[in-house]
Subunit: 208 residues, 4 copies
DNA sequence: TATGAATGAGACTTCATTCAT
DNA sequence: AATGAATGAAGTCTCATTCAT
């Protein structure tokens, strides 16, 4: 029954999503009107509703960042089997994504998505899914590293993964705000932090 | 000439802000209506406008989180002059704030504020100010620690501070989402990460 | 029972009316808020309601321009019994009032009153009363002049009076708008026009 | 691309303007609510905003009375080249317009427009333009008549034009108020007044 | 499929008036 | 007599969505 091919349909959807991404990036989800998206997409009001159920549907589609997560993760995939090296590669992949000028709109929309995830369960599901991918990966790497005696067994693999995710999130936020960040210096810091997780006496004692 | 005292006035303002905090926490700034705030505050529609210029004014007032920043920082103040110990104390203070059940609404509104800061310059100024306070403090501590040979001189103090801020932000985000986080484990991880910043050979070499 | 003297009371009323006149002159009746009047009068909201029933009451008080009408008429009063001379004096009196800088606010409020008279019967009654005074006077003068053979008997005294009133009103409107009017030249024209009403062959035949 | 033709669009606009004219005529600009206009136009609330930017836009559209001015002027156009005859024809055309029952709402809105012109520059521009058309025409006729020795050279053409405009305005005001005016008698008076402007000794001396 | 005019609930804000003090 | 904080109805305008064409 479809009168246009799936390829055409996908192309139209993409056209709308691109327009929406630009709008949401500038004004957020709720300050962007459908009229803005319609105008920027070059389509008509009615047409948009042929490809999306409504505004919320578009928001959800853009909140789903698994593609980006996977792209970053893939760019960090390497033959090396060493879990620590994989972690370092992951840090570098995220750092590269952070400074990619083409990703600015996505980064900004990502932050809007974090807020939206607080109130919209469907958005939340998608956002969390996008984050669970790297987190699960990191948990696996950490556990392997611990098994190999390369990371302290005293640490919770989940907490380590969350700490790295937190670093990625916090840096992304700061970059999204346009703050002047020297990403290379930050990578160096994170590298050192990772080094601190290796087995052995903690060099400085935490306050009892 | 005022018919009510400053204390009464402040109390009314606080009453409105509390209502707004609860509403914004649940629905975000732009999905919360003035009617919601009015209803929850128990005041009349017009009365709110005696205390705030409009909805934006309320948003800005709540985006200004310097009080909270300062409260956390104060709770970490201690006689000890040791910069590393101060940093560890700071981490613990933020961790405590993170699990304070009374702070949930503020944390959630904080995340909404991050998104709003992307498009609203006035909100942005307030949000950034609230973050610059701890960041500047950390930069100072790091520089002192570096001067005392307690932290590697090869690291950028700004990058270290940003990394800690990123950790705080990322953990706050995850906690705001209600994720199951064992904060103590995370503190242990951060402690180790901090240890990794101490002088000496980085234990593991970063990939070429 | 009044706790303040009538003089004090009148002085307060006048204070309010002056403030209202200035406000109404600038923004019209309906774009002026009570807050504007209260602010300009230096009194409190509540106080204004001790002296006036409400905003409409103030509007009505200011729409009543009999005082001004009478002042102008008095300034044109003269012993001379000649009705034509009295008419000419009247024209001059209005012309003087037109260029009085102190009368600007009243002139502007007068125009607002014309519009308000279209919908507010109480305002209308007051505005019309203020105009009926000079009109009745002119009708009387015209009738006396006609009786004395000084003005054409073929003309309706009422129509002549209305024509003069129309001239005053139209010139007032143009002056209120701040148009560049040479009032002396206009007086000269009106003088000539008055001359045209004298008995005798109409110099030019109207188209049949 | 427009889904409705220009004619349809104009018809909708006209529909709104007609409703607004009726409302404004009864209650003035600022006492008429958009709901009144919407209700009377038979359209929906939102639809009105497809045709006008807002209430002010509607007010401005109705304040622009050049059409009416031109219609009156055209109805006074005649082959006769005689400037005095043209002036008399103009007077009659305005008189006819004054008693046209279909023009009542426009006359009333016209008076509201005079008041609004005092505070709203855009309205003012439109109102003044509508008046400048006949005034410029009259100035031209007067100058031609003076050149032909048909009107006294001692008179300012501008003042004469302003006097006639004032007469039209004042009579319009009185008619708008619903006063009992015998327009024919008034035309007779204005004819005589015009006669008084002809060259020759002013019949009566103005007071020294 | 595609269009864009139309809908109408609901958004934020103002303001004349009141009344406890 | 005087104050000014409080009220809440009413104001103008927006916007996600629909549906006749």
């Amino acid at each position: 029954m479809p009168k246009i091919s799936k390829a055409q349909r996908d192309s139209r959807r993409e056209q709308i999503l691109e327009a929406a991404l630009a709008c949401f990036s500038e004004e957020g989800f709720h300050q962007t009107g459908m009229a803005d998206i319609v105008g920027r997409s070059g389509m008509s009001h009615g047409a948009v509703y042929l490809y999306f159920r409504g505004k919320d549907d578009i928001i959800e589609a853009l909140a789903d960042d698994r593609h980006r997560s996977e792209a970053i993760l893939n760019s960090a995939a390497q033959q090396a089997d060493d879990p620590i090296a994989r972690l370092r590669a992951l840090v570098r992949a995220y750092a590269r994504a952070l400074i990619d000028p083409d990703g600015e709109a996505r980064r900004r929309v990502g932050v809007h998505g974090w807020a939206e995830a607080l109130r919209n369960p469907r958005v939340r599901a998608r956002v969390v899914e996008g984050i669970d991918i790297p987190r699960a990966l990191i948990v696996g790497l950490v556990e392997r590293a611990q098994g190999a005696g390369r990371l302290s067994n005293e640490l919770s693999a989940d907490a380590v993964a969350r700490a790295f995710v937190a670093l990625f999130q916090g840096f992304l936020l700061q970059v999204a705000w346009g703050e002047a960040i020297d990403v290379d210096s930050c990578v160096a810091v994170v590298d050192r932090m990772l080094g601190g997780l290796e087995p052995g006496e903690a060099r400085a004692e935490p306050p009892e």
